[in-house]
Amino acid sequence: MTNLRKPAVRLFAAVAAVSLVAACAEDGDTASGGGADYPDQNITFVVPFSAGGPTDTVTRLIAEPMSEELGAQIVVQNVEGAGGTVGSGEVAGADPDGYTVLMHHIGMSTAPALYADLGFDPMADFEMIGLVTEVPMTIVARADFEPETLEDLIDHVSENADSVTLANAGIGAASHLCGLLFQDALGVSLQEVPYEGTGPALTDLVGGQVDFMCDQTTNTSGQISAGEVKAYAVTTPERVESLPELPTTAEAGLPELEVAVWHGLYVPAGTPDEVVQQLSDALVVALADQGVIDQLADLGTAPVPAEDATPEAHRAKLEEQIETWGEIIADAGVEQS
């Protein structure tokens, strides 16, 4: 769990049976740091959430063009656990050589408020590379849930606060945060049902086991357009191109609820400036790639403007968000774990 270069080695092991020799050779090489000839080996992108989830998907989408731009293979590795803090902690402690990169979302800014013993400091232990995308969220319910519109939902939830269930993909997940905002906006406290990831949560929502949840368009678009779940609103100021019928929260009567899941790339603090700049430049190129733009659009989102895909913009965003969420979470009375 501590060494982050395993997928590279695993590939050797899977393709050829000479895994031990390969493992030793590979691992020995990777001790060298970044520098003028960066990158001269595989780069690992750590996703602190499960494979196939929304963050994983975004990462894999941009990894391809970034890998071309940098001229090095990028290996995506999933290090799950505790709302993304396990993977983040691992990257914080990795060698600051630019070969271990973290993709994290809004959860980076909420972790300090949610976890008493985080083990790392988001502002001090990382260099920011740049923002990637802001994914809108959707409020969705089981297909046979009574409320028809967002206003209905607000009334229904306010009246039945002790029987409605609100699913989320785990403590600290984007869906959990959006759920907190929703409860905060309505001034209610609902029964939350945590799952291990968006997949199982959505499964139980489609199956009617839980009432509603709020999750990213990356994962809910398919079920919404097929009518498997009922959608009430999208949580951004603008409607989403792939779901043109869906009103925004402001249009539907809940302007207080505005949230987008911003994603950013990080490397451990102490990574040489030139390496950070190289990664940031590659990110800008990747975000301008037509394939990436198209695929993100299919998922109901878009790349951030080029000026936001920079270390400065990213650092400012994180700082502001840590403060904002610290207050919301403290107000919501969420227990620290």
């Binding site: 395993k6 049976a17 196939g52 989408l61 656990g81 939350e192 945590p194 291990e196 357009s225």
Partner: protein, 501 residues
């Protein structure tokens, strides 16, 4: 008829040269991954995902699917030959499969596994083509309460995995469940039983536990016995199953296929239960249950079929609803998305060639697998004739590499050593590792679903009895428990069977 048109479209797609090639590549890789302990299909697919970017969507998905069910095929080989199950499903195969290998019948065991898997794969492909949408709907009826009851039933039924004392089997299940609680609490992230070791935050690794209590413990047991030290098997009885063997495996294969096809559809742990459930059923219906654990070919054929059928039908929730049944399917969703296809209920209408092509490729893949695996049996079996003083260090090194490559973490290798010693001690005490392993696999599921069901019901425990499916499953569990723990009933039953013979 629609179905025939669709299948024709699927076969046409799957038989395109490029798609055939990627299907073959997928199943070969899958077999390799299955044979090597420690390297699972999840890791392989996660790694290969970027490579599939440049492929056509159909080819990419056909290859990734091939890796997955190919791995289920290959997983049984090491379990049978050297008692090293690389995946939870293969742990069951090891019980009787390895016993057969020790008796010089590794060939028939491997052949039974391959043939059973092929039949299961074929039937499950048809199930997938014909019943996918209704089955997916039915599976959605399973909520947390139902899963909890299903897991309880599975745990109780797993007493059947033991050859000896029921009490000891129960103790082993309990120990397994306890080992499964190590790591971060799934709902709050609070570390449990980690003793400050960061390596334990993610829980104990299945491969470390399985390789330890099965593989290493087996080696220790072999080494204490001077006679078996020359070669594991001196005489190979026969390479192919006899007519008698074939007659014995027909019914288990069919039952296993049915059971696996049904359980595989359930998202959230159904597929894990398939091979265990099949073994339990075969032992219950067997005329001579005492043969189980001593090299019964039914105990290999049934679970292997169940496991392969479940691997296939676990694609149903993914393909019809866009919902993943387990981590490998979650990765497949990622594969859909990077190919610009939004996974969901619309895939079947918007991408018929892809949907039906993938299904047809599964049958072709199963055919390729059986053609690939049967000729290899002779080769595998000859491995057992290597003198044991050469073979066992090789197994230990092999297991250590496999476990290490899992996370490049020395801790996992130490864990193998610890569990190897524990497994040896357990063998000496007359306790068996299979129920322990099942408890370890199902324990976390048991907890997750119990707690979620109670969260949703707001602490009302009657929810397990008021929901009909859940209540039925619990009733079955009670019956299974009564049958298992009342030794008088059991003895009488065995007497009846003895008289019959």
């Amino acid at each position: 008829m629609d179905l025939l048109d669709n299948l024709a479209l699927g076969l046409e797609t799957a038989f395109q040269f490029e798609n055939l090639l990627y299907c073959l590549l997928g199943v070969v890789l899958g077999t390799a991954v299955g044979v090597l302990p420690g390297i699972g299909p999840t890791a392989t697919i996660a790694m290969l995902l970027p490579i599939t970017f440049s492929l056509e969507p159909v080819a990419a998905l056909i290859m990734l699917a091939g890796i997955y069910y190919g791995a289920q095929y290959g997983g049984s080989t090491t379990a049978i030959l050297i008692n090293l199950p690389g995946e939870s499903s293969a742990a069951v195969t090891a019980i009787d499969g390895h016993e057969m290998a020790r008796q010089g019948r590794a060939g028939p065991a491997l052949a039974a596994a391959a043939l059973g898997s092929f039949v299961a794969g074929t039937v499950a492909t048809v199930v997938l083509a014909v019943f996918a949408p209704p089955l997916a709907r039915a599976a959605l009826q399973f909520g947390p309460a139902e899963y909890f009851s299903l897991v309880v039933l599975g745990l109780i039924a797993s007493i059947a995995l033991a050859r000896g004392s029921t009490l000891k089997a129960l103790a082993m299940i309990a120990l397994g469940v306890l080992l499964g609680t190590v790591g971060q609490d799934i709902y709050t992230g609070t570390p449990r039983f980690t003793f400050g070791a960061r390596e334990l935050y993610g829980g104990l690794d299945f491969v470390s536990v399985a390789v330890g209590v099965f593989g290493v413990a087996e080696i220790l047991r072999n080494l204490e016995n001077e006679k078996t030290r020359t070669a594991m098997v001196r005489r190979i009885a026969n390479l192919w199953p006899s007519r008698e063997d074939l007659r014995r495996i027909v019914a288990p294969v069919l039952r296993g296929t049915g059971l696996g096809s049904l359980l595989g559809v359930l998202p959230g742990g159904g597929h894990v239960l398939a091979s265990f459930a099949s073994y339990a059923v075969e032992k219950r219906v067997a005329r001579e249950p005492e043969r189980f654990g001593h090299g019964a070919i039914e105990g290999v054929a049934g679970p292997e079929s169940a496991n392969n059928a479940a691997a296939q039908t676990s694609f149903i929730p993914l393909l019809t609803l866009g919902l993943p049944a387990h981590p490998v399917m979650a990765l497949m969703i990622g594969a859909f998305i990077v190919q610009g296809i939004t996974p969901g209920p619309n895939v079947i209408n918007e991408q018929p060639a892809l949907f039906w092509g993938l299904i047809a490729s599964m049958w072709i893949g199963n055919l390729l697998l059986v053609m690939l695996n049967l000729p290899l049996i002779g080769l595998w079996v000859r491995m057992l004739q290597i003198p044991y003083q050469w073979l066992f260090p090789a197994i230990v090194v092999f297991a250590a590499i496999g476990t290490f490559s899992l996370d490049l973490n020395a801790f996992d290798v130490y864990a193998v050593a610890v569990f190897g010693v524990l497994g040896y001690v357990l063998i000496k005490c007359g306790c068996e590792p299979a129920p322990l392993l099942l408890g370890f696999v199902l324990g976390p599921l048991l907890e997750e679903h119990l707690r979620r069901a109670l969260i949703i019901s707001r602490g009302d425990a009657t929810v397990f009895l008021t929901r009909p499916i859940s209540a039925t499953l619990l009733a079955l569990a009670v019956v299974a428990l009564v049958v298992a723990v009342l030794p008088t009933i059991r003895r009488k039953r065995e007497e009846v069977f003895v008289e019959d013979d």
